[in-house]
């Protein structure tokens, strides 16, 4: 079987995978990083969003082998020294979740958005969240959380 070497949440990882293995499968099944979810499995819902080389991507629509040589960050890699990332803290503070299934993808998308766009406003956040679905329909608080989290990231 082919081997893939990459960095996941700051640690080097080497794994033997079938060529057809999806990146999300490598993360969840091989590495036990089950914070990244699979919702629709058709690249629409965004529950599987992670960062590859600093860019948000849908890990259900990327082969594990395509991630060879990259730096991957998952929801497990955001907190530092037991302290929540400002975006995680904002989701907690603003209750940006109901059932919580979409939350890891929402937070990873939100961090990417805040990194790319300096002055986020509500309209931009809603547009940028087009690739993330919350089937509890709790968008109001998610948007508030993203705005607060982005502000906290710049502080």
């Amino acid at each position: 079987m082919p081997t893939v070497s990459l960095e996941v949440n700051g640690k080097p990882v080497k794994a033997e995978v079938e060529a057809r293995t999806l990146l999300v499968q490598l993360l969840r099944y091989d590495l036990g990083l089950t914070g990244t979810h699979v919702g629709c499995d058709t690249s629409q819902c965004g529950a599987c969003v992670i960062h590859v080389d600093g860019r948000a991507v849908k890990s259900c629509t990327m082969l594990a082998l395509q991630a060879g040589g990259t730096k991957v960050v998952t929801i497990e890699g955001l907190a530092r020294d037991g302290k929540l990332h400002p975006m995680q803290a904002a989701f907690k503070e603003h209750h940006g979740l109901q059932c919580g299934f979409c939350t890891p993808g929402m937070i990873m998308a939100a961090v990417d958005m805040a990194n790319r766009i300096p002055n986020l406003d509500e309209k931009t956040v809603r547009h940028e969240l087009e690739g993330n679905l919350c089937r509890c329909t709790g968008y109001h608080n998610i948007v508030q959380a993203v705005l607060a989290g982005a502000k906290a990231m710049r502080a």
Binding site: E18, R20, S43, V49, K58, L63, G131
Partner: protein, 264 residues
């Protein structure tokens, strides 16, 4: 997904060699269409040849009156390129509306153009802007590139290396997007260059096409009112749960009017 052999060549020549003689081998650009296709087992491949490591296929160049975009340049790069925004703002805006941010980080212009999805956005820009599709073998004019449903002029062992867009006076793209996928239910790209106007329609039929009645009317007067009463023949248009053929025909005119109003 059926299993396959995965390759990651570092040059176009190497990619073409890997393809040779294998009828069920395919190249993969961003994989935003190919991976879902494989997952649904709509295709069974022996070999997937990932083009991501080929540096010569990446990047944006603005030289003179042309914007040339390497085939493996992701939509996000085009959408956020200051050079593209300045030279052909409509092209950057189109790229910013493909899929969602995560898809735009992976999906590429070469993949989108080669796939020729009937509801793709980029195909409309290529056709309306009279772009040239550059391959490892030749240069193909937009008018002879798109052949039909998911069909192009690309031959065996032929890969898109770049797409070159001439800078025009005014252009805009307007789409009526499917709210779930953001694919175009109908999208219209309008481009004006001197006295010439080109209009490409995506999403409405089995393949992107130019709309002669709209082009003729806009060449006389480049204003939304000029096409207010143009009749669009929708008898061969797509009809599905999202929109009937009649509705798509209506949308072609409305999107064209909005594009003319927005053209910059």
């Amino acid at each position: 997904m059926h299993d396959f052999r995965y390759h990651r060549p570092s040059s176009v020549d190497e990619a073409v060699k890997l393809l040779a003689g294998k009828s069920d081998a395919r190249v993969m650009a961003g994989g935003m269409t190919l991976i879902p296709t494989l997952k649904q087992r709509l295709a069974k491949l022996t070999d997937v040849i990932d083009l991501a490591a080929i540096k010569e296929l990446k990047g944006i160049k603005v030289e003179g009156k042309a914007v040339t975009i390497g085939a493996m340049t992701p939509h996000h790069e085009v959408a956020s390129s200051i050079a593209v925004k300045k030279a052909i703002p409509a092209l950057a805006a189109l790229a910013a509306g493909i899929g969602d941010p995560h898809v735009r980080h992976r999906g590429t212009i070469g993949g989108a153009v080669a796939n020729n999805d009937p509801t793709a956005d980029y195909t409309a820009a290529v056709l309306a802007l009279n772009a040239t599709v550059k391959t490892n073998k030749r240069s193909i004019a937009a008018d002879s590139f798109f052949k039909g449903l998911f069909e192009t002029a690309l031959g065996e062992g032929e890969l898109i290396t770049a797409v070159s867009f001439p800078v025009v006076d005014k252009a805009a793209y307007m789409k009526f997007a499917n709210p779930a996928s953001r694919y175009a239910i109908v999208g219209v790209f309008v481009a004006k260059s001197g006295a010439s106007v080109r209009t490409a329609v995506t999403g409405a039929a089995s393949c992107v096409f130019r709309c002669a009645p709209i082009e003729t009317a806009l060449a006389k007067s480049f204003a939304p009112e000029a096409i207010a009463s143009v009749m669009i023949d929708g008898k061969d248009f797509n009809s599905d749960i999202h929109a009937s053929a009649e509705y798509r025909a209506h949308l072609v005119r409305v999107m064209a009017q909005r594009a003319v109003a927005a053209a910059a």
